[in-house]
């Protein structure tokens, strides 16, 4: 086991990226509910942490810049200035600037970067400062305690026993409290253990501090901002006898922000461990090997009379299955982490295009393999940009069409069996069938006047270079985007469905497998070879009747034949033909009905062996020209079996000219 020491700067970058993403989300939330004190506090804390750890890890430019943004937010938090759209916009731009500073710290000193930072800060100071001087323009939302008024607080805090291991120094906390005002500090030693039980580096003391200060309550909370999670902290206002005159002070205390020792009840602070993605990948590989080895053991045990061996094999089978599920669970991320980014995309884009668009997301808690989530970013950006640019009309057009001025884009995720459906739908003008048809005819993709179903017609939008946009805008229209979407989804072994109604909007559904590493497969035999079909694509298996079998037999290359399946005509192809297997199958053949991307085709196989869970192995570069297979897997007896590439086979079959190899 090798333990690599993490580069602290890299760790900071990663943490900062997460904080920035969280901050972005908070700001966008804040835009819709500008009075939410909890959100303001959250944004402030994120800025504070970015600044604090920035200077700790040598990102001085980040720390310096963030400090000013934080100062601006400080005045928001203390209620001197309300949240306005202008402030949010400016803070979002500042956030991008911080991101730039973190990504390329060496550029921070370049004059244009510095100028940009200075310009942002000046604008920020304008907004906040201007509001402060022009009092009354934005009435303060909440004044817990106007600065200048002296109050006495009793602060009691106990740190976690391991606090000093984590680098917390209680003396510094006391120092910070002293800086706020007059302090009387008493140590609480009631929890001090006996000498023999004492860990010399443990923190057993608590402190009671009576603090008299003119600073607001929030200033005290800030002292504990980094330790609040693990520490017990109580801040109470000591009612001074002198205030018996009946001022408003006692009632002000409950109105102050929640005590940090009671963390927001969102379940965000569950303990977690940061793990490098590569380690998870290799863990998954090893579990894959284990599953294969276990399948072999089970097979050997089943053939043996040794009861002890059988019972061990069963135990191992159960353990391997649990381990696989746990490992897959570790790799699962909530898709909400991805959805969050698109709010910004929609906001910026709709502003640039002078449209009013609301993004509604559902199913954020849907979990997907992390590799899948990472590869979904680009396709979804393209789909959303397309929806905003081509789908949603301008507010005037919408009103004229009797729709609300604000367009809606719904981004949703849900589980459907072993698949996850991700849908991007809009209530815009829908796709222009006539324009797509015209373009397809122009480009020679279809014969003029050809009879096409909607889904066939819409699938042309995924052709490379296919765009019906009259004009190329800087947002979309070059016809590149949808091709990217198709390729990305194909490589994830997913499929795309498009539906659209003129005037009512479009809906694009991405169907994706839950995980890329392990699939449930149906093992079939064709000639001497055994092949795996992904079970998610399999609808049913039926016998091939002699009458159906007689069709197209003269054409052994797999000519187009049809099967009558409960009244529906389903085309079928012979895998023997596609794989160039000579001779004819013995006995009854089976037809496996598979579906993908709205197509339904029967694949004729010699024999259906059964259902297997398989670990997908990619094919070596020597095989990068093979067409019909998406990967390989190792069967229980140790032999290798190929996994059929269903979408590819279906397209071939549907096109009616199955390519066979010249031998």
């Amino acid at each position: 086991m090798t333990v690599t020491t993490a580069d602290p700067a890299a760790t900071y970058r990663q943490e900062a990226a997460e904080l920035l993403a969280q901050l972005e989300e908070t700001l966008l939330d804040l835009e819709s509910s500008p009075d939410d004190q909890e959100l303001i506090g959250k944004a402030f804390r994120a800025l504070h942490t970015i600044k604090g750890s920035g200077s700790m890890f040598g990102f001085e430019a980040v720390a310096a810049f963030t400090h000013h943004v934080e100062t601006a937010f400080e005045s928001v938090r203390s209620g001197r200035f309300g949240v306005t759209p202008a402030l949010i916009s400016l803070t979002l731009s500042s956030l991008d600037h911080i991101r730039g500073l973190i990504d390329a710290p060496e550029d921070a000193a370049r004059p244009e970067i510095e100028e940009r930072g200075a310009a942002l800060l000046a604008a920020l100071a304008d907004i906040v400062g201007g509001a402060a001087s022009g009092a009354g323009s934005a009435p303060p939302a909440l004044i817990p305690s106007p600065p200048g008024e002296r109050k006495t607080w009793t602060v009691t805090f106990r740190l976690a026993e391991n606090a000093m291991y984590c680098g917390t120094n209680p003396l510094l906390l006391l120092e910070e409290l002293r800086a706020l005002g007059e302090c009387a500090v008493t140590a609480l030693d009631d929890r001090l253990p006996g000498l023999d039980e004492m860990d010399p580096a443990g923190c057993y003391l608590g402190w009671k501090v009576v603090l008299t200060t003119d600073q607001p309550r929030t200033a005290i909370d800030d002292v504990f901002i980094f330790v609040a999670d693990d520490a017990q902290i109580a801040v109470e206002e000591a009612v001074p006898l002198a205030v018996a005159a009946g001022k408003e002070t006692p009632s002000a205390a409950p109105a102050s922000p929640p005590v940090p020792s009671a963390p927001p009840a969102r379940g965000e602070s569950r303990p977690s461990v940061r793990v490098q993605a590569e380690r998870l990948d290799s863990l998954m590989d090893q579990v894959g090997e284990l599953v294969i080895a276990q399948a072999r053991l089970t097979q050997i045990a089943a053939a043996s009379d040794d009861l002890a061996l059988r019972s061990i094999a069963e135990d191992v089978e159960r353990l391997a299955a649990d381990l696989r599920d746990t490992t897959m669970g570790i790799r699962m991320l909530q898709i909400g982490t991805l959805f969050g980014r698109f709010r910004r995309v929609v906001r910026d884009l709709s502003q640039a295009l002078d449209k009013s668009v609301a993004l509604i997301t559902t199913g954020e808690e849907t979990e997907l393999d992390k590799t899948v989530i990472e590869s979904l970013n680009d396709p979804l950006v393209h789909l959303i940009r397309n929806a905003v640019d081509h789908g949603i009309e301008s507010p005037e057009e919408r009103l004229a069409a009797g729709k609300p001025a604000e367009g809606r884009i719904v981004l949703s995720a849900e589980h459907a069996g072993a698949q996850v459906l991700i849908t991007v739908s809009d209530d815009g003008k829908g796709m222009d069938r006539a324009a797509i048809r015209r373009k397809a005819e122009e480009r020679g993709l279809i014969r003029p006047g050809a009879d096409l179903s909607d889904s066939e017609l819409f699938s042309f939008i995924f052709h490379p270079g296919f765009s019906t946009a009259g004009q190329v805008s800087n947002v979309s229209g070059r016809g590149v985007g949808m091709d990217v979407v198709r390729q990305a989804i194909n490589s994830l072994r997913g499929s795309i469905e498009v539906a659209s109604e003129a005037g009512a909007g479009s809906r694009i559904t991405l169907k994706l497998p839950l995980t890329l590493a392990i699939i449930d497969g149906l093992l079939v035999r064709v000639g001497a070879g055994r092949y795996v079909l992904p079970l998610s694509a399999v609808e049913e298996c039926v016998d091939l009747s002699p009458e159906d079998d007689a069709q197209g037999v003269t054409d052994e290359t797999g000519g187009r034949s049809f099967l009558n399946l409960r009244g529906a005509l389903v085309p079928f192809v012979r895998l023997r033909g596609i794989f160039d297997v000579p001779g004819r199958a013995e006995g009854y053949q089976k037809v496996v009905i598979v579906t993908s991307g709205g197509l339904r085709v029967g694949l004729v196989v010699d024999h259906v062996i059964g259902q297997y869970q398989t670990v997908i192995k990619s094919l070596n570069w020597l095989l990068d020209d093979v067409e019909h297979f998406s990967g390989a897997t190792i069967l229980g007896d140790g032999s290798v079996s190929l996994i059929l590439d269903i979408p590819h086979l279906l397209k071939k079959a549907q096109a009616g000219h199955v390519v066979t190899q010249a031998s």
Binding site: G529, D625, S641
Partner: protein, 170 residues
């Protein structure tokens, strides 16, 4: 499954002027692979054929949990194909391509020995009088009076030559 016999390699001095190789028989000829490239030698097993693959790719084999393609260099060298015998072995070698290492199995009629070919006995490849493409050969050495052909694995796998890509109709 037999591991590479290491004893022959480690004893004796490895002077810089000798090329350490694994010699093997293909058809009637003796070929050599640099032993640094050789991972292990497997007994012949049933291969999983890959419909549609290039003709010199004979199939796939499971090498300790990894799916490895097996190639027949005789197809590549335009030598007549022979059915496997009990001497047949699969030599698993490491091939680097675009900076990524991957394993490839090479079908051989028999595996001879791990030996050293002194640099002095290595000769350049004659451009004429050869039955196979000179590009595939790194050098020709001599061992006990026989010619030993040292293969250039990188060149063999990057070429499209005989036994390269099969033609697919549109």
């Amino acid at each position: 499954m037999t591991k590479m016999p290491d004893s022959n390699v480690t004893d004796g001095r490895t002077d810089g002027c000798a090329l350490q190789v694994l010699t093997l028989g293909l058809g009637g000829e003796i070929f050599a692979l640099e032993s640094a490239q050789v991972r292990e030698v497997l007994d012949m097993v049933e291969l999983t054929e890959v419909p549609g693959a290039r003709s010199f790719v004979k199939g796939l084999v499971n090498v300790r949990g990894k799916v490895v393609p097996v190639v027949d260099l005789k197809t590549k060298f335009d030598m007549p194909a022979l059915p496997p015998t009990e001497d047949s072995r699969i030599v698993v070698i490491e091939v680097s391509r675009n900076g990524e290492d991957s394993m490839v199995g090479v079908l051989t009629d028999r595996v001879l020995e791990v030996t050293e070919l002194p640099q002095a006995t290595l000769e350049d490849v004659p451009r004429v009088g050869m039955t196979w493409q000179p590009d595939f050969i790194r050098a020709i050495g001599k061992r006990d009076g026989d010619f030993v052909i040292v293969m250039d694995i990188a060149a063999i796998f990057s070429s499209e030559g005989p036994g390269g890509r099969r033609k697919t109709q549109p």
